[in-house]
């Protein structure tokens, strides 16, 4: 049982680590600010989820797990919010996203 948990958490942690790395690389590689934000959100959401889940498995049923859960919840609430706030700031300052083609109005009503 213990071994199973260990393996599971090991897998989660490693995957999380890989995720973080990929996100980090993405942040470096991506061509413009908005695309970089996507890479960052890779680490913020997936990376965080995996890592914390991994640690939670290790902690077992304890207060620490609850705390980790709270941490995860807060992270998942705050990081998109922060990302949004950042995007808004960039837009506010007049920074245009680089897009392949013109802005697509995908909404049906808007198209009409």
């Amino acid at each position: 049982m213990n071994i199973a948990i260990d393996i599971a958490s090991w897998v989660l942690l490693t995957l999380g680590g890989v995720n973080l790395l990929i996100g980090g690389i993405g942040v470096l590689r991506m061509p413009d600010f908005y695309t970089r934000m996507h890479a960052a959100s890779l680490t913020d959401s997936m990376g965080a989820i995996l890592v914390i889940l991994g640690i939670m498995l290790q902690a077992g049923l304890s207060l620490a797990t609850v705390k980790l859960g709270a941490i995860l919840a807060f992270l998942l609430l705050t990081s998109p919010t922060a990302a949004n706030a950042l995007a808004v700031s960039a837009l506010l300052a007049g920074m245009k996203p680089r897009t392949g083609d013109a802005v697509q109005r995908t909404n049906h009503e808007a198209d009409a």
Partner: protein, 330 residues
């Protein structure tokens, strides 16, 4: 410290050095402030690696929240870019290099990192740890030393914070007076109310931040934390509120008078505990006499003065924030 954590910490410190160099190099102050945020995180992580959880917590509460907000507040009212180039960089570099060499020269005789025979570890530390167990009986030795063994220093620290508050209020005026009393709440210049996501999320999180602040306050004796960190966290939550809803609304929640009362009340609470020790026949800040059981007395004393610290710090930090923010509004 095992070698591997040592390597971690070395890695972090290297990042820290790069960050600081970048901070000094950049001509854009906004960028510098952002990099300061990173530096603060790195420092906090290093503190944590070096077993200083309390300090890391403080750095977290201050560096990540308050400090950035204050710097940005100042930047908003001044300018973002440094205008003139550095003067005499060669001379300055020369001086700096010499002092750096002197400091490095000093390091070669220092006791190596973590050596148990170093005087710091051998002289006072065992006594503190033993006495905390015996005389105060709380788990967090840092809190015991901070609040009791060196409670006088901490009183001084509170006074420093209070002084800064008084100073900023003196220099900038109170937020209330600047935003012309009686003026209606202007809806269009009220923080981030028009940004839906931040606003709603903020609304969701503020109670938890507040609670966390109180939690840190009252668990200072058991885990990292204490009055100062708590005060900073509570202040951060109020600052968050005023960023979201506008400074004037925040002033409605905690009016200027209350803030002032907090600044004053905390210091006075601390002082009163000290004087109580004196009146009850002990020395100043001697908590043992507060209760028939000296250990209990110590615990009461620590609890009370930590509350005093928390109140003052929160009051001061919020006041400072308002003072900055109201300058922008004026």
């Amino acid at each position: 410290m095992s070698t591997i954590t040592l390597l971690f910490s070395i890695f972090l410190l290297t990042l820290l050095m790069i960050t600081t160099m970048a901070i000094v190099r950049t001509r854009n102050l906004f960028v510098a402030v952002m990099l300061m945020g990173i530096a603060s995180l790195l420092i906090a992580a290093s503190f944590f690696l070096l077993d200083a959880a309390d300090v890391a917590l403080t750095e977290a509460a201050v560096g990540a929240g308050i400090s950035t907000v204050l710097f940005l507040g100042a930047l908003a009212l001044t300018s973002e870019r440094e205008r003139s180039p550095s003067s005499l960089p060669l001379l300055s570099l020369g001086i700096v290099a010499i002092v750096a060499l002197i400091v490095i020269y000093a390091t070669f005789d220092q006791p190596p990192l973590g050596s148990p025979s170093a005087p710091v570890q051998a002289h006072l530390t065992p006594w503190y740890i033993e006495s905390t167990r015996e005389l105060i009986d709380i788990p967090n030795v840092v809190t015991a030393v901070l609040a009791s063994f060196r409670g006088y220093d901490t009183l001084g620290e509170v006074i420093v914070v209070f002084t800064a508050g008084v100073g900023v209020l003196f220099l900038l005026g109170t937020g209330a007076s600047a935003s012309a009393a009686g003026a209606p709440l202007s809806e269009d210049n009220a923080g981030l109310r028009h940004y839906l996501i931040p606003r709603i999320l903020g609304r969701l999180l503020i109670p938890f931040i507040l609670l966390l602040g109180f939690y840190v306050q009252f668990h200072g004796e058991y885990s990292p934390g204490g009055g100062f960190q708590a005060g900073a966290i509570v202040a951060a939550s109020i600052i968050l509120y005023s960023l979201l809803e506008g400074e004037q609304r925040a002033l409605l929640v905690i009016p200027q008078g209350v803030l002032l009362a907090m600044m004053v009340g905390g210091v006075l609470l601390y002082g009163a505990v000290g004087v109580a020790g004196l009146v009850l026949g002990g020395n100043f800040l001697d908590y043992s006499v507060l209760d028939s059981d000296p250990v209990k007395g110590q615990q009461w004393g620590i609890l009370l003065i930590e509350i005093g610290i928390g109140i003052t710090v929160a009051g001061v930090l919020i006041s400072i924030f308002h003072a900055f923010a109201s300058r922008g509004a004026a």
